[in-house]
């Protein structure tokens, strides 16, 4: 399990990478702990791939240092780093068999042949590929290729394994299965895994900690729960999961409780916050769709925010339904509701007038 007591395995210190006048990675500082499964999450072009290539040693940072296991590895070439990468394209050598692919890293390390055979067999067993050892990559399915790539990257027992969009090329069903496999492997091996992905679902389910990247910077680092429930800023709130976001203005501060006037909602909302913020300043309020309760009767309003609207659209998924509710002034909110009762008829239907309410504690205040 994640070991938080000792020094981090990898310390990225103020790393910047520029290509011409494009800053791909901008003063990033980040720690990967020992034995953790970390995810770097961001949309394409956010700099996550560059950060990955910096960690693997394919690129040199313009400034900043990267320490691996306490040793400055900034200028260590890729072939000397205790780091291996599983490529998004898998990058299997097409002219080598599965076994030769897996053996390649050990051969370059000049491991004795008998020992190589042993290790390769061990790795192939681990990813359940022994029967395919003699095949060439072009005779493998996508999932099999992915496992070869994983075995090849793990065979040298790297201190850090980087996985570039490990599930992107797999179909949905295989993806779920592979997700568990990767998490399982990480747990068994105790190696630090860093997954780079644009898929927030992938990051949430796989990782014990997530760094959200935007425009070359780290927007937030935290557990999936922290990132989802306590987003640090508007970008993270919008990128991770669905959210309703509204601009507002602080009207009153009372201890840990704050009230904001939200023009888009046409109401005053209450938020819990310890932030020192002056009345009159602008702030953003957000609430996740699943935190909102829909009801046709006026609900209890103690410690709850309340607005009123009309169901404009609904999507039924069986286990849950997703509603789009329109307020009088045209503002739209997303609400998701678990379909807890077995009934062919929904309690709330199209064009129903509904009350939307959510706990004050579920209301997110975003200052940036």
């Amino acid at each position: 399990m994640t070991d938080t007591t000792s020094t981090p395995l990898v310390q990225i210190r103020e790393v910047t990478k520029r290509f011409g006048n494009v800053t791909a990675v901008d003063r990033v500082s980040l720690d990967f702990l020992r034995n953790e499964l970390f995810a770097i999450l961001g949309s394409s072009g956010c700099g996550k791939t560059t950060l990955l290539r910096l960690l693997a040693g394919f690129e040199q940072p313009t400034s900043g240092r990267i320490l691996i296991d306490g040793v400055d590895a900034t200028d260590v070439p890729p072939y000397d780093r205790p780091v291996n990468l599983m490529f998004q394209s898998y990058a299997l050598f097409p002219h080598m068999t599965v076994a030769e692919n897996v053996a390649y890293g050990l051969r370059k390390e000049r491991v004795p042949a008998a020992r190589i055979r042993e290790r390769v067999a061990e790795m192939l067993a681990m990813v359940k590929l022994e029967p395919l050892a003699a095949r060439k990559p072009d005779k493998l399915s996508g999932g099999e290729k992915q496992r070869v790539a994983l075995a090849r990257a793990l065979v040298k027992r790297p201190k850090l394994l980087l996985l570039d969009e490990p599930l992107a090329a797999l179909d949905k069903k295989l993806r779920q299965h592979t997700q568990f496999e990767i998490a399982n492997l990480q747990y068994q091996l105790g190696t630090t895994f860093v997954v780079v992905t644009h898929d927030q679902g992938e990051a949430m389910t796989l990782a014990s900690r997530i760094a959200v990247m935007a425009d070359g910077r780290i927007a937030q680092v935290g557990t999936p729960g922290q990132v989802y429930e306590f987003p640090a800023n508007r970008y993270v709130a919008g990128f991770v999961g669905n959210i309703n976001l509204f601009e507002g203005r602080v009207t009153g501060v009372d201890g840990g409780r704050m009230s904001l006037r939200c023009e888009a909602l046409g109401v005053e909302l209450a938020v819990l916050s310890d932030e020192a913020i002056a009345p009159g300043s602008a702030a953003c309020v957000a609430v996740r769709p699943e935190k909102i309760t829909l009801s046709r009767q006026a609900p209890e309003t103690k410690d709850r925010n309340l607005v009123k609207g009309t169901v404009w659209d609904l999507a039924y998924f069986g286990d849950q339904s997703l509603y789009r509710v329109r307020l009088k002034n045209g503002t739209e909110l997303q609400v998701s509701a678990q379909n807890l009762r077995r009934s062919a008829k929904l309690t709330v239907e199209w064009d129903d007038e509904v009350y939307l309410s959510w706990e004050i504690a579920s209301t997110i205040l975003l200052l940036s």
Partner: protein, 305 residues
């Protein structure tokens, strides 16, 4: 050059087949038919007549009476050691020329592929540019350059590097130079086409797994470019074996190449049957490496179960 890894859909394959039919017709008409004529002549006897060989089919008063064939021409080729030596000499010259082309062409193709797209286009154009001038003229131009009083010698003497002109013309050196100069683009093009498709992730993967740059080159780039190497070598080797112009213009009297012998047999000795036999043997010699290449490719495709 196909590396046999791509597997196109049936539709594009059918379309491709239709497109390929046309060149096949062309080859049938202008390659296979003339070859069959040559083959026929190679089994005839030389006579002083027009045409200077006996007919294949004999016609009597009752019509067709039989085939008149002789293997004497072939027997002559094998009995007279002269032809064997020339075949070997031609293979050797073409082989060395091909190797030189490979040694020069591989780094060039590799370099061009690594350039940014715009510069790549320009460099490729530069490789093909000589084709805009007639091959014969370009070979002639080398005479002007390599001559005892040619540009190179004059220049070297004028700057005092040498006192006497270097003999660079009418010897094997000039022939090799001519072959490398003329056929280099045929080496570069298939190599370029092959190296361009190399997935650079593979080199990164090799580096990631502990390979230094040269090791990644040896372990990944070279094996994956083998189809390009073989393709380029065949494109150079095959025409070079039968090359006539270059040894005729740049070679010395002792430069023996089968192309010149062919010329002599046809136009000086006027022994068309022997000349035809010489060409038939040449074609058979060259078909061997092509078949070998095709078998290699097929085996590569079938290598994995």
């Amino acid at each position: 050059m196909s590396d046999g890894t791509t597997n196109d859909g049936g539709h594009s394959l059918r379309w491709l087949r239709r497109m390929v039919t046309l060149p096949y017709l062309w080859l049938l008409l202008f390659f296979l038919a003339p070859f069959l004529i040559i083959l026929k002549i190679s089994f005839a006897d030389p006579i002083v007549a027009q045409p200077p060989f006996t007919a294949l089919l004999e016609w009597g008063e009752q019509g067709f009476t039989g085939l008149k064939t002789t293997f004497e021409n072939y027997a002559f080729l094998f009995q007279d050691g002269y032809y064997g030596i020339i075949y070997l000499a031609s293979l050797k010259m073409a082989g060395i020329g091909t190797l030189l082309c490979l040694m020069l062409g591989y780094p060039m193709a590799y370099f061009i592929v690594r350039q940014p797209p715009r510069r790549r286009q320009i460099l490729l154009l530069a490789v093909i540019l000589p084709f805009w001038i007639s091959f014969l003229l370009r070979v002639y131009a080398w005479i002007g350059l390599l001559n005892n009083r040619g540009l190179i010698n004059n220049f070297l003497i004028s700057i005092g590097v040498i006192d006497h002109p270097l003999t660079m013309l009418y010897n094997d050196f000039a022939v090799y130079l001519g072959i490398v100069y003329s056929y280099l683009p045929f080496m570069i093009m298939p190599l370029y086409a092959n190296l361009e498709r190399l997935d650079l992730d593979l080199l990164d993967a090799a580096a990631d797994l502990g390979a230094r740059r040269w090791q990644a080159f040896v372990d990944v780039t070279v094996p994956l470019s083998v189809p390009g190497i073989i393709g380029g070598c065949l494109l150079v080797f095959i025409p070079a074996v039968g090359e006539f112009t270059i040894p005729a213009l740049l070679g010395g009297a002792d430069t023996l190449m089968i192309g010149r012998v062919l010329w002599d047999e046809f136009f000086i000795n006027r022994d068309w049957p022997v000349a035809s036999a010489v060409s038939v043997v040449l074609v058979l010699l060259l078909v061997a490496p092509i078949l070998w290449f095709q078998r290699l490719q097929r085996r590569e495709q079938e290598a994995a179960p």
